[in-house]
Symmetry: C2
Subunit: 217 residues, 2 copies
């Protein structure tokens, strides 16, 4: 277990999309899963499950589904940066290249965690608002974040992906997911091909946090 401090871990929690095929030792994987299990959830219902996909054929099939969605996604994603400064565009092209690698190598990484949820165990308090609901995710993604922070601490690379939710019926059939459960994310995991974790680029606090009123500092 890493002895680096919490803030050192969080500040270097980079998305890692180039993952080596080397297996993750069972004890390491178990600590990562335990970290997810510790996460809080509404009413402590823990309305999530993770199918840890190890089987080569299953991962390859997930990769095929993912690649199709990724290629469509990238077309739109690239358009957002057409008029961006050259440096920003180059940064985005590096991200896209890493995403291309992930898509074409998903079958090679040792584990893909397919995260599922059951809305029957959730109080979705924003269900009646006239906009997309997110509150159910409040009992799912803290566990995913714990999983990923534990990966960071263990030196295991990973990235939160959600494109496979568009293929939920196919993923359901592939993994035999119970009809009452649905998909929230897929987290490919494995040791990094290149440098791995390191500094990230985030917005300054002044743009993310207000005091007492919207827009106020």
């Amino acid at each position: 277990m890493s002895t680096e401090s919490l803030y050192e871990l969080m500040s270097t929690q980079r998305a890692i999309r180039r993952l080596r095929p080397d297996p993750i030792p069972e004890d390491v994987l178990k600590r990562i899963m335990q970290a997810a299990a510790w996460a809080p959830s509404g009413g402590n219902r823990q309305p999530w499950r993770m199918v840890m996909v190890h089987g080569r054929d299953l991962k390859t099939r997930l990769g095929e589904l993912y690649t199709r969605r990724w290629n469509t996604f990238v077309t739109g994603y690239r358009k957002r940066f057409t008029d961006a400064p050259e440096a920003e565009r180059q940064q985005q092209e590096r991200t896209i290249a890493a995403g291309d690698y992930l898509a074409s190598h998903m079958g090679d990484c040792p584990v893909v965690a397919v995260v599922c949820f059951n809305p029957q165990f959730m109080a979705v308090t924003d269900a009646d608002q006239d906009r997309v609901s997110v509150v159910g995710g409040g009992s799912v993604y803290p566990a995913v974040q714990n999983l990923m922070l534990a990966c960071r601490a263990e030196g295991v690379g990973c990235v939160l992906t959600t494109l496979l939710c568009m293929d939920e019926p196919a993923v359901r059939e592939l993994l035999g997911i119970d009809p009452d459960w649905f998909t929230a994310a897929a987290v490919p995991m494995g040791y990094p091909v290149a440098g791995g974790y390191g500094p990230t680029a985030r917005m300054p606090l002044g743009e993310l946090f207000y005091r007492d009123a919207w827009g106020a500092s």
Copy 2:
């Protein structure tokens, strides 16, 4: 900053609902906010903002709104445990008593973080599935979990609440939230009245994780 290890922090991340009115020092609060800012989000868009509510009148009003929803919620919550074993019922009554305290003292705690999100900066990949959407939360609740883990590390109590999402129009008016942004959570924060953080009760790994297929170990 705490030097306790990541897993020690995660394994004792208990919901703290009894919060002292003592202020949180600015440097502590800033580290907690920075932890949230480090969280990953889809396309690194960081589609969340937090209004850190310090003003007494604002917190009191949030508490009034919260209390009304909480009292309704508790009626249903208690019914779930009518036929539960005595020990479990007593545990739930302790949770309810802590929730009652939170509701009636929200105006007293030093800060309530009201978490907002903007769906225009999200790729909500499960929007077309025939069930409640959660994916937008994947770019919001990792930041909330970072915030809460940092609170844990700093000895500041907190709890993820979502009942105020039912009063989004009133909360929007109170804090002047931009029309393009919506509410995802409210996290009351403050030093614990009683013992604070400690062990939690979570499901065993075997019930939360499957291998290669639903229900398989």
